[in-house]
Amino acid sequence: MAGPAETANTVAEPAAGTFARQSSGLVRDISPSSNVILNISFVSIPLAVLVATQAPAAFPGASPFWVTVICAVICIAPVMLYSLFMAVMPRSGGDYVFVSRTVHPWAGFAANFNITAWYLLVIAYFGYLLTPFGLSSAFTTIGVAADNDTLTRWGADVAASKGWQFAIGAAALILTAAMMSLGLRRMLKVQRAVFYLSLVGVAVSIVLLLLHGRADFVDSVARFGGDYDKVIVDARAAGYPGGGSFDLGNTLLAMPLAFASFGYAIVTSYAGGEVRSPRGSGRNAMLLALGISAVVVALLMALASRTFGNDFLGSATVLSNAGDKAYPFGAPSFFFFFVSMLTTSTLLILVINISFVLAIFVALPATFLIATRALFAWSFDRLVPEKLSEVDPRTRSPLIANGVVLAVTLVFLALIVFASGDFLAILYTAGLAELLTFIVVAIAGIVFPFRRKAMYENSPINRRVLGLPAITVAGVAALAVYVFFFISLATTDALGANASAGIRATVIIAAIALALYPISLAINRRRGVNLGLAFRELPPE
């Protein structure tokens, strides 16, 4: 038989030119559809629609459609870089493995620690989002549709109640951790069903937006007790300059909002690396997933602009974000909330609002898994205590690692909900801080063919573009993209990433990441373990 792929670590050959014997590990490639679905689930479409409201609010004149399209196009470079790395080092762990092997284990650990720490904050944020953008929106729209004042009041109450925000977020986090500890496989099955359901809400939204124009939405706003034009006028009075006319500069400045989704099309490298995809099918799946996600989100953005109007979206969001009394609705300004206003069907409203809640429940366990896998990897490499990779003999689950992730995320959730706005400001810095890790990976990609010459030359990515190794070119392009977003986030006040609290947190986490490795090195040396040996290449002569 010829042309198989293999589980992990081996180079899959094309159908011609190589013969295989019957031996373990020889498997067929992941089916193209599964591969694409896997990648799309990491580019969460329901979360990407935040661009519709936040872009015109923070950057008047920004077009959510062009923000989506341009961002998706430039994110091709990072996808190419990560897919090339995955082809040569098909191991879950993403940056930790790429950077440790290419540059230095210290750099690999620091880069991975940095992004994992921020992922923990993002997990907590997912929990927080459930109440204002999921439950509140659902209660409000169903309440109005069913003419039920109690539900409408609940919508407003839960959005304003810190207790509910924490309780519901904490329940979601505890539920996730419990299911991951007690029945990971069952949970992953549920997660797949939830993923498909979340896309149903997106499909319903597209249909509703196609069927309803601006006039219908103006009527809907009135039905919900508001006045479309008054929202715009009130926002002007509050200082919003208006977002009706296209502004290319602000469109480019708003791109980091879309990067928060499309920039993470590479996350498969953390979770999907156990199986090598031969003949570039892994790369193609990542690109196709990016393309499909971009087309769907761009379509949603174009329809949103047509039906709601960018000026209204910007105005409503400015009022909502500021807690202005002129904001006429019980639920915060949010894409799915406005879409659900277009129908009076309780069922459709439920489906639309649940799609966002479900999208969070898709993202939660996936991000949780990335965090616990990072803890295992560090523990196996003796960088953190062995306890973190221990498996409970009864449940056979990594209860300690799951417990650590849960405890840290609950603390973060409490800080997001109850602490001053400073902590939420820190969260806006997550994108900037995570870029530090991506930048290190891009540099690793640039130098990989030169630092690991033998590995590169015998790998399937040994290709040249413009006379340079393809991965070096992809690394340079990805670095340019990452630096662009880093500078955007660092210099654009409207994105909130450069708040002093966030910058302080970035520096502190980066410093901890850099300090832990030498500390661990010293502790292990006292035990007689030389961590310097971990990635030292043996002579192959």
Partner: protein, 326 residues
């Protein structure tokens, strides 16, 4: 080399370097030969699955030769380039075979292909054992080899013939420092029906047959190719009936492919150390009832030698362990 002629080199500490599943990678095997010196190990253990899975024909073509690597044709114009090409293929963990176009076409016949594979595997392992003897015969290091489930049983004789190494599966062997080692290279049944597989009950019997010879199992090393079931060490991609990995929205679905017989043997005898392989994508360390179990994984296709350095001491047992990627 007689095993019991070796004394407790290096004093009380016995440093073991364990690697496994090199699958025909010349680069990894050569690295393993050099590992004792670099890691200052007194014991080298190669844990099975020595033979490769893929064969790359180098076909005579108009005065030169041509082979296909990573989907691209690579040409060799003269003998020097041919040797370089052969070396490159071996370094990638494949067997090279120079033949004519007609001979290449005959490889489509499964029985003929099987026979050709037997020959190249035998020749490859024999060449490695010669190299091992040249490199390690004069060195102060105890060397242990064993077959895995992917290796043809008749290759055991080739390994037994290596002067500088002990074939570990022939009985309980003793490591420097007086640690007995039990070795079984068989695995439980796989979807690929590989040459050395046993049902769980027969695997249990085989392990028990060796373990029952131990005076003090708590000082023993269990060198069992198949990892214990339901651990970090045995997680592989779940496959569907068409041998495609099952994927869900969180990535490939991982499942336990280890052995319950291995797990029960470890939990019953509580050896010092479990050395395992078989599941390349699951490098990990986990304690089972106090026994440190290690699967260093394998990256043979990238020419990276994954291994484990383990220090044993009489009073502390496993004093330290460390996974390395050399």
């Amino acid at each position: 080399m007689g095993l019991f002629r070796r004394s407790r080199q290096g004093g009380e500490r016995t440093r073991v370097f364990f690697a496994t599943d090199v699958h025909g990678s010349e680069r990894c095997f050569r690295k393993w030969l050099n590992a004792a010196e670099v890691y200052e190990a007194q014991v080298l253990v190669l844990g099975g699955d020595l033979t490769g899975k893929l064969l790359v024909p180098i076909v005579a073509d108009g005065g030169g030769w041509v082979a296909e690597l990573h989907g691209e044709q690579v040409r060799a114009a003269d003998d020097v380039e041919l040797e370089a090409l052969r070396g490159r293929i071996r370094m990638m963990g494949r067997y090279d075979l120079v033949l004519t176009a007609e001979e290449r076409d005959r490889l489509q016949d499964p029985e003929h292909l099987k026979s050709v594979f037997r020959t190249v595997m035998h020749d490859g392992v024999a060449r490695w054992m010669e190299l091992l003897t040249q490199r390690l015969a004069e060195k102060d290091v105890a060397v242990f080899t064993m077959l895995g489930n992917d290796d043809e049983p008749e290759l055991a004789d080739v390994l037994r013939g290596a002067g500088a190494a002990t074939y570990a599966e022939d009985g309980v062997v003793e490591l420097p420092g007086g640690y007995p080692m039990v070795s079984v290279g068989f695995s439980t049944p796989t979807p690929w029906q590989t040459p050395r597989e046993l049902p769980e009950d027969e695997l249990a019997e085989r392990i028990e047959g060796l373990a029952s010879q131990l005076d003090d199992p708590a000082r023993a090393v269990f060198n069992l190719h198949c990892p214990p079931a339901d651990t970090h060490l045995d997680q592989a991609a779940k496959l569907d009936g068409d041998l495609r990995p099952v994927v869900d929205s969180a990535g490939p679905v991982m499942t336990s492919v280890g052995s319950t017989a291995v797990r029960e043997a470890i939990e019953r005898h509580h050896p010092l150390l479990g050395l395992h392989g078989h599941v390349h994508e699951s490098p990990a360390i986990q304690r089972l009832d106090g026994t440190v179990c290690i699967n260093p994984g394998s990256d043979y296709g990238d020419g990276v030698l994954r291994g484990a350095i383990v220090d044993l001491e009489p009073d502390k047992g496993v004093r330290t362990w460390q996974l390395v990627q050399g």
